[in-house]
Amino acid sequence: MHKGRAIVTEMTVGPVGELLALDLWNADDAATVASALGVALPGPGQAEGAVLRIGPRRWWLVGTNFDRAGLAAALNGTGVVSAVAGGWVHVQLSGVGWRDLIMQSGLIDAEDAGFGPGTVAVTPLSHARCVVHVRAATQCDVFVPASYADHCLSAWRAMGAKAVA
């Protein structure tokens, strides 16, 4: 096995579980909507718990703590909720080398001091449009389009990452 650049990163791979896309017609309504929904709707490039801002007017609600029908009703015409879980694979990167792995895979400034825990980036990695959620200094979640998952994981293993699950 090619040892890449001696990245110290472990990959934990699994299905996303539940994942809802929340679209608002007007992002300025986010605070009001958040209050009605009972969830935080973070600003651009940010995450708040299990809620990730992934577009100008789109958030992701990750996990099983969200009731789709309840959310749809609470939105009251200000937006819609759609299920998207089947299209994504969750990869957790752990270790001091995850930023290096990301920067070998794409053109993103993962070394920027501002790209710390709680930040989110939507960026191509190994040709696939991925969502990166920084969880800690040595850990991030990467959501990979399911069809590209084999390709990305294989590429990252070749770069030195080690799959642990």
Binding site: R5, V84, G86, G87, M103, I108, Y148, H151
Partner: protein, 948 residues
């Protein structure tokens, strides 16, 4: 002092030598007395070491063995490692006795552009000529085996990128780090220091090389990234630069990546790229032993190697005088310093006069050859020719700032008459040139905050004397790598190749790996003189990336083998593998082409599968189809804009075939449209057009409709899709769901194998059919249930080829083949499905007279092979062989329902040609098949089989 025995073993042309740590291959070869290193490109003249770094034009060697051999490596840019194997190139049978050297004797017959005048005739003859030309001349041979090394790519971002770790670059990088900036410092050498590596100055009380290493350490300690052995290969738009880092030397096995291609986005770029010394032009100036004065000084001061025993220094400025001191201190006898200036003075010159013989107004006329090397110099001294015996001639005709990156960035150039060269002018991006690259020569001025002590004192800035002359017999080289002489340039001018761009192509000036690094300014001077214009008016060629050669492996990086291109896998890939699927790429996707039974061909399997669908039921994976949910109060407006078919009256729970147009009215995609709820719609479209459709939906929403209250959610990957088709399809579905199957173009929710699914009743095969949509990560159980139930009724799985056979027989179009971007809905026979009230994208364009009138348009037609012979896809449709084509075959297939061969095609005025017999003619496939033109429908014209 060098250890005479050396400590690093290496070989050159099979002979064992030893060098010392830090040696370049060039330094080690000279230290071992090897002066002949290469043969020149065209004339096979003997060549030695001329430069000291990447500017070396002549000493090209192949380093490494087998698949790891790297041709055309500059001996001056390869650092020694134990076991290094180097070979000369372009010489046979040996470097010392090279048969190709006969070219030199016949040089008069092969001047610049000789092949343009010699090799006439039909193009095919060039294939013959080329073999001999390439064998007679050229560079090293690339290895034939796959490269065993790995190459990496890495992005990097910084506030300040400094290119060049000479004194100016080091100082700039340190200043930026101290100011809290994110800094990257890139240096192509193995050590920081640049010119300090070949000088004796002290800075702040430390030797220059020590000061440089300490500054580099301080930059690292301050958070800066210092990349040594890294060359910036290109400066692109928006301060984006690429750089190649060599982690190992050429031919050296690597633990990890052998090289890394860095992709750097910088806030500011500081170009501290230094200068390249210019040669002097005189007869035989390419002999081994003739070298740049700076290179001779680097050999002496950096490596402790004497380039000869008796040296002549030829110069037009003070700097080369330093070489005399450096060589003399190593025991080299300085025969004389030839200074082309008639009035030279200053501390450096005076110090030299006190120690050496200095001739003012003197210059070399001709290098004298003995064997393969330099024996002496005929020089013009005091107006007379004198012969000086020497085995080393260190020359310097000034220095040219390295402006490649500045120019690649779009920077302007300004001509400096005093320096006889160009300096960087205004930049177009956020970059600045500093130090010697900006014309600054004085180290104290560059390091304003440091205390610089130069034991020889400051010299005058490098300035050119006469840049060229060829008054003595013998070849005077301007471009050493490409064997371009003053005579070649004069010939090009005489023959009308006046523009420097034409001169370059006619003579090969500035081509090859050298790209004119040493010879460009000298050549421009001669061209200007020959044209009688000032040098700046001679013109410049383009400074194209890469600055130095970049191996293809670095470009490819990790994208090789299985990673050469991204492969998209279906969510049920493992299930298809278990069924023995034969995979076929469909865009980036891998899809099952067929499921072969033992001893079955693909064609046999596909036809068997298609007939299975017609007879009972089949399951095909259509997960790769694009799927978009459009939701929100204004969703209907967005859907109506994108889909050219009726929309508003579509009832909830119903769907219909739809077609999407570009703004020019041409068909962009097709698929189905479903109303899931009052304000939620589902559009399916082609696999290959998924990304285009996603962009189109966003464009229509954001640009044409101005952000309606509608979300476009790409659910293509969320939903796996399994098409169930055949007369038993409804029975299979009902058996699994316990409910009646939806009517044709109806939809409903159901549960299969405990998994909630969505069932869409739509047919692409001509049979009663359904698409079962299930979240991708839950699809396996549903797939297994469907396949199991289908098999119970005599059915099974089918692949892409069978699906294609079925749809051709039914006359369904596919995006790319029939809908090739040049056809309207009417051309495809779909005019009747369009929304009569318009209002969709492309509607206005369809009103153009050229599209309204049917005459002259290509129409979709069906083609039946008259004699049952298979029809070639892509074949031209002609009345007789050799006549202009009236159309072409878009897709061909065997008949499924009966024997025979059919096809779809696009045919000019095809709708009026039904019943005609034409030829499907493919000269490239040597196929001519008579075909009968008809409507594009071969099966169940009434549509009875797919309705309830």
């Amino acid at each position: 002092m060098r250890d005479a025995a050396g400590s690093i073993p290496f070989t050159f042309d099979g002979k064992a030598y030893a060098g010392q740590p830090g040696d370049t291959l060039a330094a080690a070869l000279i230290a071992n007395g090897v002066r002949l290193v290469a043969r020149s490109f065209k004339l096979h003249r003997p060549r030695g070491i001329m430069g000291a770094g990447v500017e070396e034009p002549s000493a090209l060697v192949t380093v490494g063995e087998g698949a790891r051999a790297e041709p055309n490596a500059r001996a001056t840019d390869v650092f020694l490692y134990p076991g290094l194997v180097a070979r000369s190139q372009n010489a046979w049978p040996s470097l010392a006795f090279d048969v190709g050297a006969v070219n030199s004797l016949a040089a008069a017959l092969i001047p610049a552009g000789f092949y343009y005048k010699t090799f006439f005739g039909p193009p095919s003859r060039w294939m013959l000529y080329e073999r001999f030309i390439r064998r007679a001349a050229g560079l090293g041979k690339p290895p034939q085996a796959p490269d065993p090394d790995h190459y990496g790519h890495r992005s990097a971002f910084c506030d300040v990128l400094v290119v060049g770790a000479g004194p100016a670059g080091l100082a700039a990088a340190l200043t930026a780090v101290d100011a809290g900036k994110r800094v990257i410092l890139i240096e192509q050498d193995a050590a920081p220091g640049g010119s300090l590596l070949r000088e004796r100055v002290t800075i702040d009380g430390e030797p220059g090389v020590v000061w440089a290493a300490n500054v580099a350490d301080r930059i690292r300690a301050g958070g800066g990234r210092v990349l040594l052995r890294t060359t910036v290969s290109g400066y692109w738009d928006d301060n984006f630069l690429t750089a190649v880092e060599r982690r190992v030397e050429p031919g050296q096995p690597a633990e990890g990546d052998a090289q890394v291609l860095w992709r750097v986005r910088a806030g500011e770029v500081v170009l501290a790229t230094g200068t390249i010394e210019r040669p002097l032009v005189f007869a035989n100036n390419d002999l081994p032993g003739v070298m740049m004065a700076g290179a001779a000084r680097a050999l002496a001061l950096r490596h402790g190697v004497a380039p000869g025993r008796r040296a002549v220094i030829a110069t037009s400025h003070d700097e080369a005088y330093r070489t005399a001191f450096a060589l003399a201190d190593l025991g080299v006898e300085i025969v004389a310093i030839l200074d082309s200036r008639t009035q030279a003075s200053g501390p450096l010159v005076e110090a030299a006069r006190a120690r050496f013989v200095v001739h003012a107004g003197a210059r070399p006329l001709r290098a004298i050859r003995r064997g393969i090397g330099l024996a002496g110099v005929d020089a013009l001294i005091d107006g007379a020719k004198r012969r000086l015996l020497a085995d080393c001639l260190a020359m310097s005709g000034g220095a040219s700032p390295v402006l490649h990156l500045h120019r690649q960035a779009g920077g302007a150039l300004e001509y400096d008459a005093a320096r006889g060269g160009f300096l960087p002018g205004a930049g177009r991006q956020r970059h600045v040139s500093i130090g010697a690259a900006a014309g600054e020569h004085d180290l104290s001025a560059i390091l304003t905050l440091a205390r610089v002590v130069d034991p020889l004192g400051p010299g005058s800035p490098p300035a050119p004397g006469p840049l060229w002359h060829d008054e003595a017999p013998g070849k005077a080289f301007v471009d050493f790598q490409n064997d371009v002489t003053t005579l070649d340039l004069a010939l090009a001018q005489r023959e009308g190749y006046v523009s420097v761009e034409h001169t370059k192509r006619y003579t090969t000036l500035g081509m090859g790996t050298d790209q004119g690094k040493t010879g460009a300014m000298v050549a421009l001077a001669q061209i200007a003189d020959l044209r009688g214009v000032p040098l700046p008016d001679a013109g410049l060629t383009t400074f194209r990336p890469p600055y130095t050669p970049v191996t293809m492996g670095a470009f490819a990086g990790p994208m090789k083998g299985d990673h050469a291109a991204p492969i998209r896998r279906l969510p049920l890939a493992a299930a298809h593998d278990a069924l023995g699927a034969l995979w076929v790429p469909a865009g980036a996707w891998m899809r099952p082409r067929a499921y072969l039974a033992p001893d079955e061909t693909v064609a046999q399997a596909s036809l068997r599968e298609a007939r299975m669908v017609r007879a009972s039921v089949g399951v095909v994976d259509v997960s790769s189809l694009a799927k978009f949910e459009i939701a929100g109060p204004d969703a209907v407006d967005l859907v109506a804009a994108v889909c050219a078919t009726p929309v508003a009256k579509l009832a909830i729970g119903r769907g219909r075939y739809t077609v999407m147009l570009r703004e020019d009215g041409m068909v962009m995609d097709d698929g189905t449209l479903w109303r899931l709820a009052e304000d939620r719609w589902l559009i399916t479209s082609s696999t290959g057009g998924a990304a285009r459709m996603a962009r189109h939906l966003t464009y229509v929403a954001d640009v044409l409709l101005g952000h309606p209250r509608a979300a476009v959610v790409d659910v293509g990957e969320h939903w796996a899709g399994l098409a169930l088709a055949g007369p038993q399809a409804a029975a299979v579905l009902s058996g699994l769901t316990g409910a009646e199957a939806p009517a044709h173009m109806g939809l409903g929710d159901a549960v299969i194998a405990g998994v909630p699914v969505r069932v869409l009743a739509a047919s692409y095969s001509g049979e009663r059919a359904f698409e079962v949509h299930v979240p991708g990560h839950l699809a396996r159980a549903v797939f297994d249930a469907l396949v199991g139930a289908a098999r119970g009724l005599g059915g099974g799985v089918y692949g892409l080829d069978a699906m294609d056979h079925l749809r051709v027989e039914k006359g369904h179009v596919v995006i790319g083949a029939e809908a090739d971007g040049r056809v309207t809905p009417a051309d495809l026979g779909l005019g009747g499905v369009l929304r009569k009230t318009g209002g969709y994208v492309g509607w206005q364009a369809l009103q153009r007279p050229a599209l309204v009138g049917p005459v002259g348009r290509r129409h979709l037609v069906g083609l039946t092979s008259v004699d049952h012979t298979p029809i070639a896809e892509g074949a031209m449709l002609v009345m007789r062989e050799g006549e202009p084509p009236l159309g072409h075959v878009t897709t061909a297939a065997p008949r499924v329902a009966q024997d025979g061969a059919i096809a779809l095609g696009l045919l000019t005025d095809g709708a009026t040609r039904h019943g005609q017999i034409m030829l499907a003619w493919s000269p490239t496939r040597r196929s001519t098949v008579p075909v009968r033109v008809g409507p594009p429908l071969f099966y169940d014209a009434q549509g009875a089989r797919y309705r309830d």
